[in-house]
């Protein structure tokens, strides 16, 4: 055990915080590109196994280079955790299921099997993917820390799955018109269960803010080839920031539909024309836009914050394995 000195505020720590705070990104595109390329090469050489470690490296790079009050975030996940949990996931779910369905296909060779087996396979994997998605989010939140205190996402998997499936079905039935309500319900569940140490985030959004704009954009979808939804997406992100608090801390996110459209469009072009090689720059541009447009007010008194007991059971490997958590940063 480590003997801990008593808590004495560091004299140089800022006491009177300015009204508006911002995050700062200190990463360099060239360095990130180096990591990205080496990940690509090692992933190919090692037949894909290295990607668990590669992904961890990128996540670590992003976290360590985002500073709040000149203190970097830390990413404490490891490739080992992702790899071992992915192996467990394969052993427990994927392999038995695959072998079972393979055996069924071979033993019962008829048209019904040929149609039914892929459907069963797809449905089961879709459900596993949903389960893994939350697992991945919980893992990332738990492995993210700032000044030695971890974040935590304490959503029960059953609750999440139930809501996700309900929203999915309602979206299908209403041809997508239910989407803003679904997003509101999901944000309610996720953000109200997110915490930094013992300090909880709270989301108090007004769903009416989303519905009108969404329906307008939804009507424009056929005429804009779906691009109108980009403006809704920007509004949704502004709504999330505005409606979320961490204690007394408030957020404002000033992204516009145009900015988001240009980011997505230019990133897609960059990635497509470089055959994925410039993916690192695309990710960095996304993070940079997030940081440039996020404003933070009313920083809480950190003296009152303490670490929380985390049940760090999520290992994130299943999400990584199923491609359900491709997020590298925040």
């Amino acid at each position: 055990m480590v003997e801990t000195p008593t808590t004495t505020p560091m004299p140089t720590a800022p006491e009177a915080a300015p009204a508006i705070h911002r995050l700062r990104y200190t990463g360099a595109g060239s360095k990130l590109f180096g990591i990205w390329i080496s990940n690509w090469l090692f992933t190919i050489i090692t037949l894909g196994v290295y990607h668990f470690w590669g992904k961890t490296k990128i996540r670590r790079y992003f976290h360590e280079n985002v500073l709040f009050q000149e203190e970097p975030f830390a990413y404490l996940g490891t490739g080992r955790e992702l790899f071992i949990s992915a192996l467990k996931f394969v052993g427990i779910f994927v392999l038995p299921l695959f072998l079972l369905l393979f055996a069924v296909t071979i033993l019962f060779q008829n048209k019904t099997t040929v149609i039914v087996v892929p459907i069963v396979y797809a449905v089961v994997f879709y459900c596993l993917r949903l389960y893994a998605q939350l697992s991945g989010m919980r893992y990332r939140a738990n492995r993210m820390s700032w000044r030695g205190i971890r974040f935590a996402l304490k959503v029960r998997k059953s609750e999440y799955l139930k809501l996700l499936i309900t929203i999915g079905l309602l979206n299908i039935v209403t041809l997508g018109l239910y989407r803003p309500y679904g997003e509101y319900r999901m944000l309610n569940l996720l953000l109200n269960n997110l915490a930094y140490g013992n300090l909880h985030f709270s989301y108090q959004g007004d769903k009416r803010e989303l519905t009108g704009r969404y329906w307008l954009n939804w009507l424009l979808v056929p005429f804009t080839f779906g691009l109108s939804l980009m403006w809704y997406q920007a509004r949704l992100q502004r709504h999330i920031a505005k409606s979320t608090r961490l204690g007394a801390m408030e957020f404002r996110y000033n992204i516009t539909g145009g900015q988001l459209f240009w980011l997505v469009f230019s990133n897609a072009l960059m990635v497509a024309f470089s055959f994925g090689l410039l993916g690192a720059y695309a990710l960095q541009r996304r993070l940079q836009l997030f940081i440039d447009t996020l404003k933070i007010r009313n920083v809480p008194d950190f003296k009152t914050i303490k670490k929380a007991e985390n049940s760090a059971d999520d290992q994130g490997g299943s999400a990584d394995y199923l491609g359900a958590d491709e997020d590298f940063g925040f």
């Binding site: 008593t6 808590t7 720590a13 037949l47 894909g48 490739g79 914050i305």
Partner: protein
Amino acid sequence: MITAAESNGYFLDGETPNPIAVRISLLDTSLRIVDVGTQKSLVWDFASIDWEHSRPLNGQLRLKHKDGDHWLVATAPALVAEIGAERKHWLKRHFWSARPDAKLALQACLVTVVLFGSLWLGWPMLTKPVARMIPQGTRDNLAGAAQTMMSMNDVCYTPDGEAALQRLTQRLTVKRPDLRRIKIIAVESKMINALTLANDSILVTSAILRQAGSPDELAGVLAHEFGHVAHQHVLRGFIGQATIGVLLSLITGAHGTEIDYINRFAGTAHTRAFEAEADQTGIALLRDAHISSQGLGTFFGRMAQMEGTSTRFTKYFATHPPTAERELLMRQTEIEAATPAMDLRDWRAVKEMCKGKDDTGGRRIGPTYRYNEQAEEPEVQPEPDIEDTAEPDMDETPQPDEPVIPPADPDKPRDL
């Protein structure tokens, strides 16, 4: 007594986010940390530091303890340099023990590469017995699926054409009775191609029939495809690709681009070997049937012109060996006492198979041919006696290398 002004770093205890000003000093391979407020001290041995999460960052040196979320941040440049130098030496001496994560990465990657490398190398051999075990029903299903996928269900049929192809099959398999089960099916397609299906039937497209300049050319193409049947390449390729592909994606999960490259690279090496093997078997069949390989050489020559030159790099991602090399092989192959593969009547019958109902009265059947196990074995012709074989009437027989009919569509062959 250390004062606040003398602090050269701060400590994060993992209990609260409040930094504690500390004075850090380096003692050989450990760090002494003194709280400047309370003067309490503790020592961190280098072995107790989580080096995988500890690193220099923005001019600071950030160190994390292995037990819990305790961080020590050295901020004074001189101290950062001093600890940094010692850190380098220490990490050199304890390379693997300080990097358990990297160690596991290396082990996992090595195991995977060795495992898949062996599987990949052993694939051509391992797939042979497995291919034999696949029942006819499954082969028919696979063949039907492939035929549908390639939109090659529009079968051309004329009784004369069918009979001519049967006669050619018998001649090519004169010393290989095991290959007489092969059924050649002409299909309407703009693709200049002949390809073997999983149920040992061979599809010949209308485009290749139109383009073929001589019976020898067609016989050469078919001999090559017979080679694929003889070695069960289609099924073995399918099994090998599926096994390695599935195992790879089972291990690495849903990860796109890189795995696609690996699969393609790994797969094409074997298909190139299969194609070369089919060429060799094709030559053997042509030799047994006393049919010249120059016809196939002409075909490859035309294909090589259409393909253009391949670079050294693209060669490794190609499914077939370089066409120019294949042409050379056929050109250099000497076949004794070669006679034309078909007489003019048969050749015309084959050429007219796909001319369409309106043109020739030929009828089309379909949609999918299924290999018929009950089908009668074609009558086996005795091995032709070269001495006794009458020289074909040159008026009635086309020249092996007569001028080529220009291709109706410049599609490149896929499976030849």
